[in-house]
């Protein structure tokens, strides 16, 4: 077990930021912590990184393998990229390497990964936000830590920056690293993570494999001149899972991969004329909103 969180709680005044949170992350997991803003994601990461003291509860890194200060073996980017503005990117990385006691840090290699080669001599304060974010990822990667933690890694980036950061994260994930990532963007968690925990108001609502928690369903809205014939046809198609009748059309839930065009073709062969045919994916966003609204555990 890489990380075990045991009944962790933290409050700020009357706000319960994290409420009795228990989690465990295994080696090789790409673990997403998903929740709306203010759900306690950053507070949780702050506590397990020892910058915020918990009110109660405990956590354990690597089963205690690295003693009381395991953070040299964790690469983390929390909220904003934080560096000395008056130093160059390389000078900043040298400080990180010194703190981590890195023997022979591969500056070129990690700068290559985040696409900052050639800009390492520039002062940090001259960097664009996207570059700062990528430098933070580079510094997290320095000295090859066992676990990487990213808090909202694409926050505040433009679309190109988002694409670049995601690409970088996927590359890192493919190398078999354990990654812990907090995000309020469902799509991001779904694209990158293997496991997910959903937080709301500091409480854990659900945790498990991404596929089990966030299912990806699709359905088709369909209507024909003769609805009875249409229903008879739908009953014969094995990919159809359920049919719900509405006033102006039927909602047909299908197995993933079933094409609306196939339905159109079959109906035409049976002499059924369709007047309405729309293919829809059940929105993950709405499912996520549903989960956080219903408070299910």
């Amino acid at each position: 077990m890489v990380l075990t969180i045991d009944h962790l709680s933290k409050h700020y005044g009357r706000i319960q930021a994290v409420d009795d949170l228990s989690l465990s992350v295994e080696e090789g997991n790409i673990f997403g912590i998903l929740g709306p803003n203010g759900s306690g994601k950053t507070t949780t990461l702050g506590m397990i990184l020892n910058i915020i003291f918990p009110d109660s509860g405990s956590y354990d890194w690597f089963g205690g393998r690295y003693g009381s200060n395991p953070r040299r073996h964790i690469g983390a980017l929390l909220e904003t990229p934080n560096f000395y503005p008056y130093l160059s990117a390389l000078d900043n990385l040298k400080i990180v390497a010194h703190i981590r006691k890195a023997e022979n840090p591969d500056y070129d290699g990690i700068l290559e990964i985040v696409n900052l080669r050639g800009r390492e001599g520039d002062l940090f304060r001259t960097y664009s936000f996207g570059m700062k974010q990528r430098l933070a990822i580079a510094s997290a990667l320095l000295n090859d830590p066992d676990v990487l933690i990213f808090d909202e890694p694409t926050n505040g980036l433009d679309p190109q920056g988002i694409a670049e950061v995601r690409e970088t994260l996927l590359q890192i994930a493919q190398r078999g690293k354990t990654i812990l990532m907090a995000s309020h963007i469902l799509d991001e968690v779904e694209k990158i993570c293997s496991h997910v925990a959903i937080l709301k108001k500091g409480r854990l609502l659900a945790t498990g494999q991404v596929g089990a928690i966030l299912s990806n369903e699709q359905w088709i809205e369909v209507e024909a001149t003769d609805r009875e014939k249409l229903k008879a046809l739908l009953a014969t198609i094995p990919e159809v899972q359920s049919v719900t009748e509405k006033e102006h059309f039927c909602i047909v839930a299908t197995k993933p991969g079933f094409q609306a065009a196939t339905l159109n073709q079959k109906a035409f062969q049976q002499g059924i004329l369709l007047t309405h045919l729309v293919s829809r994916n059940k929105s993950l966003e709405s499912e996520f909103l549903q989960i956080t609204k219903e408070d299910l555990v």
Binding site: I52, N82, D91
Partner: protein, 268 residues
């Protein structure tokens, strides 16, 4: 220890305010005293400007110039080199990266001691150079008469800087911390001592305030001129060297313990 000192050096070696304030100290320490040369006639007991530069009194005069300079320049550095870590959120990042809070405290303290040591060595060398140039005859007993000014100067630097470190750690915002540092040294403490303490109890205890103790380590020259007032008040206006030293060391210890407590117990 070397590891933590190296870490702080990596942070400061290209930090412009640190380099500029350091350069200013190196420049101003001898030149401020040398300004005295531009005035040819001095009232007794000085008479000629050369008095300032002769052994053994050059240690006293240069020390008093250094007193002001270290309060302003080293004080500034000591506030800034910790608030900088808060304003760019690098304190937090250093902990995340793997430093412990205690490491952070010690790296700051080691650096502070190194700067104080450097300032003292420079003071000693400058005093020696000025003395050798301006004294007609060199006797080791005369040269070394005020050699105790070296440890006093060092503790004074440490005192100003540990106070700055505490304020910077406590307040975190460089502007306000700097303001409070200078306001306390120049205005608040004198008002507390002369306005409040002296009126309530006219007692020697009014001298045992931190900035006053640090100041009296390397005191204003001609302190004997206040003897007349002292008779009237019934006690001395200045701490003796020993009193100043012990009082300063106690305050420095208190400031450092408080800084350590703040650094190790607060959320970042």
């Amino acid at each position: 220890m070397l590891y933590l000192l190296q870490l702080e050096w990596l942070k400061q070696r290209k930090h412009r305010p640190f380099l500029m304030l350091g350069a200013l100290y190196i420049l101003l320490l001898p030149s401020s005293l040398l300004i005295a040369k531009s005035i040819k006639e001095w009232p007794p007991p000085i008479n000629t400007p050369d008095t300032f530069f002769r052994f053994p009194d050059v240690f006293i005069y240069l020390g008093y110039v250094g007193n002001w300079l270290t309060f302003f320049l080293l004080g500034f550095i000591s506030v800034l080199f910790i608030t900088q870590e808060f304003s760019s959120r690098t304190f937090r990042q250093n902990i995340i990266t793997g430093l412990t809070r205690a490491d952070m405290f010690w790296s700051k303290l080691y650096f502070l001691i190194t700067v104080a040591l450097g300032a003292t060595v420079y003071y000693g060398l400058t005093a020696m150079a000025l003395g050798i140039i301006h004294s007609d005859a060199l006797y080791s007993s005369v040269i070394l008469k005020h050699i105790d000014y070296l440890p006093r100067f060092f503790v004074m630097c440490l005192g100003y800087m540990s106070f700055g470190l505490l304020l910077g750690t406590w307040i975190r915002r460089s502007g306000f911390a700097l303001f409070l540092f200078f306001a306390y040294g120049i205005f608040i403490e004198p008002v507390l001592r002369w306005g409040v303490h002296q009126n309530l109890f006219r007692h020697k205890s009014m001298n045992f305030y931190p900035m006053n103790a640090f100041e009296d380590l390397v005191p204003i020259p001609f302190s004997e001129m206040t003897k007349g007032f002292e008779k009237e008040f019934g006690f001395q206006f200045f701490l003796t060297g020993q009193e100043a030293m012990i009082t300063s060391l106690v305050y420095i210890a208190l400031f450092l313990v408080a800084t350590y407590a703040l650094i190790t117990r607060r959320d970042l």
